[in-house]
Amino acid sequence: MTDFKDLDPVLHSQLRLAVISLLISVKDADFTYLKEKTDATAGNLSVQLQKLKEAGYIEIEKSFRDNYPLTNCRITKQGIKAFELYVNNLQSYLTIKKPSR
């Protein structure tokens, strides 16, 4: 039986979940793209990306393009597994919750 608190705390944050949901759908994405799609502020997004990186869920590649810094992100295998587990747990949580409504 899945409890709401069993959901992965790294992914159970609105912005981190949004980032992972985007990265699972594309091969890679840069910081600007993630910022545009999530409507997040640059500061908050930076912090959350760092947390995802520390958890091993994403890879961050920093480089330069036309003298401007470029941050490219992609989901790791560990990140895909964590996302799948999160969705499965969420599904069972919602299934359990439904009859009691």
Binding site: S25, K27, N44, L94
Partner: protein
């Protein structure tokens, strides 16, 4: 997203996942530009070669295809510039890129094999084989993008490939032009229109 509260429901989690996946899926990066460039280049080469061969009996009629090198150089510059501006790479775009790379490799290899193995006898084989090849990436790209004009264009290439078996050498060459009108030029304009309408939204 910064108006984020600690207490949120499972339904909200699901809504975030759905909305982000939908936003990423709406990435339509194909503007039809290269389809139009290559379409017109092949069309011009095909018509010019046909005219040189049929009306002028010009011996070096196939030299006109050297023009494709210009298109190739343009393509490399265009794609390099596009890659610099790229914010995201989708699996769809990546797969389509691989398909067109395979097409380019197959084109070079098959033309080389036909020329090497059959020498002058291979002339009548080029059009049916190349038209067959044109159909493959066009059809697959159409399937991946779920874009019917490209699917239809691919099928037309295959039909023209069969038809070209029954045509004389000069009309075989003209079939390249007909093929690219159906497979690249018309779908290219439609892709451009679709891309612009999405960008305007």
């Amino acid at each position: 997203m910064d108006t984020y509260s600690e207490k949120w429901s499972g339904e909200e989690s699901l809504a975030i996942i759905q909305s982000m996946i939908k936003r990423a899926r709406n990435e339509f990066g194909e503007n039809g530009h290269l389809y139009l460039i290559w379409g017109y280049v092949v069309l011009i080469c095909s018509v010019v070669q046909f005219v040189l061969l049929r009306f002028f009996r010009y011996e070096n009629h196939s030299l006109v295809w050297m023009f494709t090198w210009v298109a190739l150089i343009y393509q490399i510059i265009y794609l390099t510039k596009k890659a610099r501006k790229r914010k995201v790479k989708t699996y769809t775009a990546d797969t389509i890129q691989q398909i067109w790379m395979v097409f380019a490799v197959l084109m070079i290899m098959i033309c080389f094999i036909l020329g090497f193995q059959l020498k002058g006898e291979s002339v009548r084989l080029y059009a049916p084989v190349i038209l067959c090849l044109y159909g493959m990436p066009t059809f697959l790209t159409g399937r991946i993008l779920q874009f019917k004009p490209l699917i239809l264009g691919g099928i037309i290439c295959w039909l023209l490939s069969v038809l070209s078996l029954f045509l004389s050498n000069d009309f075989q060459i003209l079939m390249y032009g007909v093929a690219v009108i159906a497979a690249w030029i018309i779908p290219g304009y439609m892709l451009k229109k679709k891309f612009n309408s999405i960008a305007d939204d």
